[in-house]
Subunit: 412 residues, 2 copies
């Protein structure tokens, strides 16, 4: 079954917001085995929206629309569907009742705008939206299916999973598609591609490998299409097994688990605790750790020692060490890591000190120089890195490198 | 002049990456006064790429393509342009010379893949790419202009600004477009829309207002199209003046300046310093502050006191206060803020303690309860907030609320 996705709104064609709905829908439909042939974004103009829906329904089995279902004048999706099918809007009593209940729960009266949300084009079916007042719309059109969903991301995502995908599967069936994402850290794309050149050559034709690089982390996306999902799964799993023998030193996790979650899992499993001591990363590492629910079980906290004064004052770094080796040195990083464990009574610590840029570099220690130390019950280790000259990327790469060092220390 | 943007690649239609190139191009073309009618993404299939280019050139004056210009088999843009125009690839000697020089600079020999990058469809013009080896392509086609650019973001962005926009302006001329983004914090969308209902009604027809909400921050985007850019600018500036009288209490900055940058600017101007004491935000506030280049001038650092032990140990919070009022209380937040200033000798501090969720709530203090304190030379103030039940959003909303409190304290 071939799918097209159409997102509607001037905020998209004027580049004011990133089209995260289109990406999410494309990923979800692909994962469910529905190939996405095309994604489009159009302006809030009835004429243009009607045209693109009609074109898409001429090419593809299913057309998924997002946005333009609100009650205001720049919401044109329902009017476009009416124009396409030559019908008028009619009130759906079940939807009206749902809206009344939702508003009552919030202590609000029903106004004309709310009432208009219960109208759908005649001959279409409303799709229940438990999280909002705008229903989705299901339209059978010349043997194709057109689905319109609200643009609010969590409403759209919930409706896709609970209603739209199951109904489409019932309507069209699926072929087998399966994919896995292998997480790697500690290399860069060109290097990984060289190491994996032989592996890539030997891939069966049904299996596709894609590199998805971001600062410090490269995801390897393996996917396969086959007669059934089980067949596709077996093909992908075989290649993932092979990959785990080819590059064990770089793989941090399978199935898209971010590094901060991997580290959190390992700490939880071993019953150990963690603290941080950050200079140039400025709290990025701690905020990554804390983004994981339940991190309070293993994370005690830490210090952002951005100034040298806090390095000596709060972390108790010997000012002789700072003077002799400099704030950006393995010696300072190691003392930060060791003292952080002592002060917080945590089992493990990561410490980072470096020059994020764009200023502060010297010939001996250029912008991008970062020292990382990890302290653990079996001792303190440190590394020195030379990243690039972009501040944001340096902070991200230093943070992932530190979490990856900690991960290895927890494993080996 | 009507523009369409087409981005090419399976990684887009399979939802593996977000289409940041399309957003960037749409924003840039809109800002230059070229209306974008449609954005599309298609798979790496010659047939489908050729079809969509032909369709777009039938509707719009300019078609901008991104991606698919590399030397490997899944790069199909050049082949599609050849198919569209019925021509073959020919070597462009100037491009070949440029590639040779670039490789030499990196100490690399030229291989067959590199050489193939110098080939462009016969009858087209190469667009110089000083930052990479793949040239852009300029094609005049039935009175329309088709431009293909590499998908590497910084190459695409540089080529758009230095070559493509100037040439298109020469070719088509422009009408006047101007826009500004006013930053607000401390309200939510429905509330702001109600306050601004009268303002919106009185907007001249040429001026458009859009709300761009994110957790804790709502951007107001005002844009106008007119005969010249100066006319459009005057229309927008007049409305921004009016807005600054309507909602002075919510506006944090003009022209898209993030809150952490506004706060940094105010600290720099006043020669004051800042520190942080974070519990539930876990370093998010400090990492936002440190994301601004030059923040080491005013930011001393801080403590992530995630566990109660660190609140007493590192921040010296009186355990009687913790016991009497709880870790999540205005009293604890205020003591965190005051002690942080004392320990770090900073002039200002922000302190946050709360329940980010999904666990840890109680009937009296449900998930989303967050206490924020700001200490300054004129005393310590605090607020209690009730956000929602989503961890990520709670951390973001607490962080922006804290920075906004600090901003007001710096101003008034």
């Amino acid at each position: 079954m071939l799918t097209e996705i159409i997102t509607i709104g001037n905020e998209l064609t004027e580049g004011r917001i990133t089209d995260t709905n289109a990406k999410w829908l494309a990923g979800r439909f692909t994962a469910e085995g529905f190939a996405v042939a095309r994604i489009s974004s159009v302006r809030d103009k009835i004429e243009e929206v009607t045209t693109i829906i009609s074109e898409a329904a001429g090419r593809s089995d299913t057309v998924i629309l997002s946005g333009g279902l609100g009650p205001t004048s720049d919401d044109v999706t329902k009017a476009s569907l009416c124009k396409l099918t030559g019908t008028k809007l009619v009130t759906d009593k079940k939807v009206l009742e749902h809206i009344r209940k939702m508003l009552k729960g919030r202590g609000l009266p029903m106004n004309e705008n709310n009432r208009r949300q219960s109208e759908i084009p005649d001959g279409t079916r409303a799709i229940h939206n438990p999280l909002g007042t705008a229903p989705g719309i299901w339209l059978e059109y010349n043997g194709r299916v057109i689905v319109a969903m609200p643009g609010v991301p969590f409403e759209l995502e919930h409706m896709t999973g609970s209603e739209v995908i199951p109904r489409l599967k019932e309507r069209f069936g699926t072929t087998g598609y399966y994919s896995r994402t292998v997480m790697t850290s500690g290399s860069f794309e060109a290097m990984l591609a060289e190491i994996l050149a032989g592996f890539e050559k030997e891939l069966p034709p049904e299996v596709n490998l894609a590199y998805l690089p971001s600062p410090g982390v490269i995801k390897l996306h393996l996917s396969a299409s086959a007669g059934t999902q089980n067949e596709a799964r077996e093909m992908v799993d075989n290649q993932v097994d092979k990959l785990s023998r080819e590059i064990p030193q770089y793989i941090t996790a399978y199935d898209d688990e971010p590094l901060e979650m991997t580290v959190g899992r390992l700490l939880k499993e071993s019953g150990k605790s963690l603290c941080t001591a950050e200079s140039c990363t400025g709290g990025k590492i701690s905020s990554m750790i804390v983004s994981v629910s339940g991190s309070s079980v293993y994370y005690k906290g830490g210090v952002v020692a951005y100034s040298n004064r806090l390095k000596t004052g709060l972390l108790g770094i010997d000012s002789a060490v700072l003077e002799k080796h400099g704030a950006v040195s393995r010696e300072t990083a190691e003392e930060m890591a060791i003292n952080a464990c002592r002060i917080t009574e945590a089992d493990y610590s990561v410490a980072v000190t470096g020059i994020a840029g764009p200023d502060g570099g010297t010939p001996g220690k250029p912008v991008g120089t970062v020292c990382i130390a990890v302290n653990s019950p079996s001792g303190c280790i440190s590394e020195i890195h030379r990243f690039g000259d972009n501040r944001e990327r340096n902070i991200l790469r230093a943070s992932t490198a530190a979490l990856n060092m900690l991960r290895k220390r927890l494993l080996f």
